[in-house]
């Protein structure tokens, strides 16, 4: 159930603005890797390129051996990529359960079976008490959890999480970390996560990639990057990320 992800030379400009420039990295199958960097570094753009929201100007995206550059988002979902949105996108007019049901219907054609699958996902994320509320009425942390539940319901082999811990209390962060580690252990799912909450990064990631102004600044174990002078200089030093001290 796991898949490796390799991006090579990814470049994306928005009307002259350099969002991402020649970024390459590999997320080995079954590993948990974090993508960090200051706001505007190009992290979300990197996710959008991997998930097929728009094609890169140059560069390739590979899932294991397969070149998936330029595929549509739905095709990438079929290929095994599940992603969450930093700016959450709930189906506001549907219930929380129905939100996840839509994801579950991707691989399960029968509605009744998909509904059960969706209920499992809600339980996993601790959202079951809210199952029948409208998704639009959830608090932001719950909407972040819903994003994860929806993505997981599609049964991805690689999960892209964009700042899902933002706004969670430390205990909730720990619960989410435990859930993700549990998933990774039990299903072997590969996880690439964008995260500002260093507490979560340190607990989860075996490897950290640091982006700054569209370029890859550093790469290594959490210990290595947090001691890297360039990283401290541009990121950790002055602009202390949320929860870093916690």
């Amino acid at each position: 159930m796991s898949l490796s992800l390799t991006v090579t030379g990814l470049t994306k400009h928005f009307r002259g603005l350099r969002a991402l420039e020649d970024v390459s990295f590999t997320v080995p199958a079954g590993k948990i890797v974090a993508l960090i960097g200051p706001n505007g570094a190009g992290k979300t753009t990197c996710f959008n390129l991997i998930a097929g929201v728009f094609p890169p100007d140059t560069g390739r995206v590979h899932l294991a051996k397969r070149d998936v550059t330029g595929l549509r988002p739905d095709q990438l979902c079929t290929a095994g990529v599940g992603r969450t949105f930093q700016i959450v996108k709930p189906f506001a007019g549907l219930s929380v359960l129905e939100n996840v049901l839509v994801g579950a219907l991707h691989r399960e054609r029968r509605v009744a079976a998909a509904r059960e699958k969706a209920a499992e996902m809600l339980a996993l994320l601790g959202l079951d008490p809210q199952a029948h509320r409208l998704a639009g009425s959830l608090t932001l942390p719950d909407r972040k959890r819903l994003e994860v539940a929806k993505a997981l319901a599609t049964q991805p082999k690689i999960l892209l999480l964009d700042e899902v811990m933002a706004g969670l209390r430390p205990t909730e962060t720990d619960a989410m970390v435990a859930t993700l580690i549990g998933l990774n252990r039990s299903t072997g799912i590969t996880i690439l996560l964008i995260e500002h909450v260093m507490r979560a990064v340190m607990a989860l990631a075996e490897q950290v990639i640091v982006l700054d102004q569209g370029r890859k600044l550093a790469e290594g174990t959490p210990e290595q990057v947090t001691q890297d002078p360039r990283v401290i200089e541009t990121y950790l030093g002055h602009d202390l990320p949320e929860g870093a001290g916690a």
């Binding site: 998930a51 929201v53 549509r72 988002p73 739905d74 979902c77 079929t78 599940g82 992603r83 949105f85 996108k89 709930p90 189906f91 506001a92 007019g93 549907l94 219930s95 359960l97 129905e98 049901l101 839509v102 994801g103 219907l105 991707h106 054609r109 509605v111 998909a114 209920a119 199952a131 029948h132 509320r133 409208l134 929806k150 993505a151 319901a153 599609t154």
Partner: protein
């Protein structure tokens, strides 16, 4: 089993009211005069076509302001097949429904393919209907702007197969069509495709990320909606026995079609029905009243519909049905339905 599915989430009171209402409608032609029958037939027609429009906008979130196109094409198509080949309307439907579905999908494909979205897509649907209206003005084989008239054969009793006969015949046929559309929508919203439509309506980007092929799912919605509307067009042709491009393809008709669902509740299954039940009598009642007072005021109906629309947008933007249904205890409020369902499953 099937009726259980159809009435899922409806309270006993709701079921009772629906059954009583339906019973009354079935018996009504025995006592009603032909005027009342014609009004009810019109209500059924708007409930039916509103339902069809709702598939596209209410479920899949794609706004069409040109549904008169499918009314016209369906009507003209079936009328031509009847007059030139002697084919009855039901056989005609086998031709015009797929044709209209394909026309709808072609327009949809054009729009979606070239990224024409939202309001601009709606403008495209108007343009297609208007273009076709002008084209039909010049098709002399179908009467051109002078209109196409179906031969009226009287005194041979009711012929369901050829859809020729008394007002009662049309009343029952349209009632059944409206009920079928209601049931179809009720069923389709609980299927995989139905959930995909709702997801697309709520947030296309999130829907795509969950693996939904947006183009295919949109085209299926347009196709079903256009095909259903074509059936309404066929009925229209055989009921009124005359077709004028100015009338069937009119922009005003496209608007009238979508008023019912908006007033009743976009995206709800019973909304289009309720909307038609409110708007049609309102428009007709106003006309009657003015007639009785001896006043001729063209456009009264439009003004009343406009007022109604403003009231709805101000006070019940989600439509009357979602509010009324809960208020009057006709349906179980959304959340509680699922709870009960879960209880049964365990």
């Amino acid at each position: 089993m099937l009726t259980q599915d159809l009435f899922e989430g409806v309270t006993p009171r709701g079921k009772m009211l629906f059954t009583a209402g339906l019973g009354a409608l079935l018996l009504l032609p025995e006592v009603a005069d032909s005027y009342l029958i014609s009004i009810l037939t019109l209500i059924f027609w708007f409930a039916y076509v509103g339902q069809a429009w709702n598939v596209m906008m209410g479920f899949a979130g794609q706004l069409s302001l040109g549904h008169a196109l499918y009314v016209g094409l369906g009507g003209y198509g079936a009328a031509a097949l009847y007059m030139h080949l002697g084919l009855g309307p039901w056989v005609g439907m086998l031709v015009v429904v797929p044709v209209c579905a394909l026309v709808g999908m072609a327009i949809g494909w054009l729009g979606f393919r070239f990224g024409v979205r939202g309001v601009h897509f709606a403008l495209l649907t108007i343009a297609c209907a208007e273009f076709t209206r002008v084209a039909f003005d010049h098709i002399t084989a179908l009467g051109g702007s002078g209109g196409l008239f179906l031969p009226v054969v009287g005194g041979r009793g009711d012929d369901l197969l050829m859809l020729r006969g008394s007002p009662q015949l049309y009343y029952y046929v349209m009632l059944v069509l409206a009920l079928l559309a209601l049931a179809l929508c009720r069923i389709v919203t609980r299927t995989r495709l139905g959930y995909f439509w709702l997801a697309l309506r709520e947030n296309p980007d999130a829907a795509a990320a969950l693996g939904i092929p947006l183009l295919r799912v949109k085209l299926l919605a347009v196709g079903l909606s256009a095909g259903m509307t074509a059936v309404g067009g066929v009925f229209y042709a055989f009921y009124y026995n005359n077709l004028f491009p100015d009338q069937v393809f009119a922009m005003g008709r496209s608007i009238e079609i979508l008023l019912g669902p908006i007033v009743g509740g976009i995206g709800t299954v019973f909304g289009p029905v309720l909307g038609a039940m409110i708007l049609t009598p309102l428009g007709e009642g106003a006309s009657l009243l003015l007639e009785a007072l001896g006043i001729t005021l063209p456009g009264t109906k439009q003004v009343i519909y406009g007022l109604m629309l403003v009231l709805i947008i101000c006070f019940r933007p989600a439509g009357i049905w979602p509010w009324l249904a809960v208020k009057a205890g006709l349906v179980v409020p959304p959340g509680e339905t699922d709870l009960r369902e879960k209880g049964e499953a365990e």
